[in-house]
């Protein structure tokens, strides 16, 4: 499995995901540097992503939307802060309306993506930090995420039956 470690720290509201990819660091970086490639992996199944703005450089901005099966669009933005190609970039990640204007009252997460050569491929470490438990809840309540098949949802469905 490509995911080699997944740790969550409820105290700092930080997720750290470590993955191993069978491709060189430069190739993995290219996926993020090319909007046409990035949009093929960003959106969950049934929610294809379209990047409108895409500038992977310090101070650069990305905007994208995901299109739901019913045609509704869910927008998002990244504000890139640091870039050290092809090894690391950091950015703020937030929600946007369908016209890609940032939603000010929605949570913003701080993200660090880093890539290093390992075992003939790339070890990628992704971290996302949320500002509060409420922010996390809001992110999940957006409901655009793929298959929310957590135990609690199954229970909700069961009780509704």
């Amino acid at each position: 499995m490509p995911v080699t470690a997944f740790t969550t720290d409820p105290d700092t509201l930080t997720l750290t995901i470590t993955a191993q990819f069978a491709a060189p660091v430069e190739r993995v970086w290219e996926l993020y540097a090319d909007p046409r490639q990035l949009e093929q992996v960003w959106g969950p199944p049934g929610y294809p992503a379209t990047f409108v703005e895409h500038d992977l450089s310090a101070g650069g901005r990305m905007t994208y939307y995901m299109t739901a099966p019913d045609g509704e669009r869910y927008g998002g933005w990244w504000q890139i802060s640091e870039v050290d190609a092809p090894r690391r970039f950091t950015f703020e990640d937030g929600f946007a309306d369908p016209d890609l204007r940032p939603l000010a009252d929605m949570p913003v997460s701080h993200n660090v993506y880093s890539f290093e050569p390992a075992d003939g491929g790339t070890r990628a470490v992704f971290t996302s930090t949320y500002s509060s438990a409420e922010a996390l809840q809001q992110v999940l309540d957006m409901g655009v995420e793929e298959g929310a098949t957590s135990a609690i949802n199954q229970i909700d469905g069961f009780l509704a039956a």
Binding site: T8, A22, R27, V28, W42
Partner: protein
């Protein structure tokens, strides 16, 4: 796997794997009930009902408070939606995304026959 998450799921599914406990949970989700009122609803001993309530409580699906001589139980599905379970939901999202990246990157490599279809490009 995150052991805590699995333990939680085990406790929840165990708690819900019993018809009486599901029925108790439906009642207490609709509103607070005393354990004695619940016990009166079933053809079983008070102790047996109390035991079912305790299983639901351990699974985080129900909370109890004391009021005088009574124990009052209410359903607490929201409590299960703790930070830990929210982080677990995000884990699922991330695992999906990383699988897609992995599949996408594998599309670069020369494939032995039978060849897989090319990755579609918009």
């Amino acid at each position: 796997m995150d052991g805590t998450r699995e333990d939680r799921a085990d406790a929840m599914f165990h708690a819900l794997a019993d018809r009486t406990r599901r029925d108790i949970l439906r009642r207490v989700l609709a509103g607070e009930h005393s354990v004695s009122a619940l016990a009166a609803s079933y053809d079983m001993s008070f102790a047996a009902v109390q035991k079912h309530v305790a299983v639901l409580e351990r699974a985080g699906l129900l909370t109890k408070r004391r009021s005088g001589r009574e124990q009052l139980a209410s359903g607490d599905v929201e409590a299960v939606r703790s930070v830990t379970s929210m982080l677990a939901e995000l884990e699922d999202i991330w695992r999906g995304r990383i699988d897609r990246i992995d599949t996408f990157l594998q599309g670069d490599r020369p494939c032995p026959s039978p060849p897989s279809p090319p990755t579609p490009t918009p």
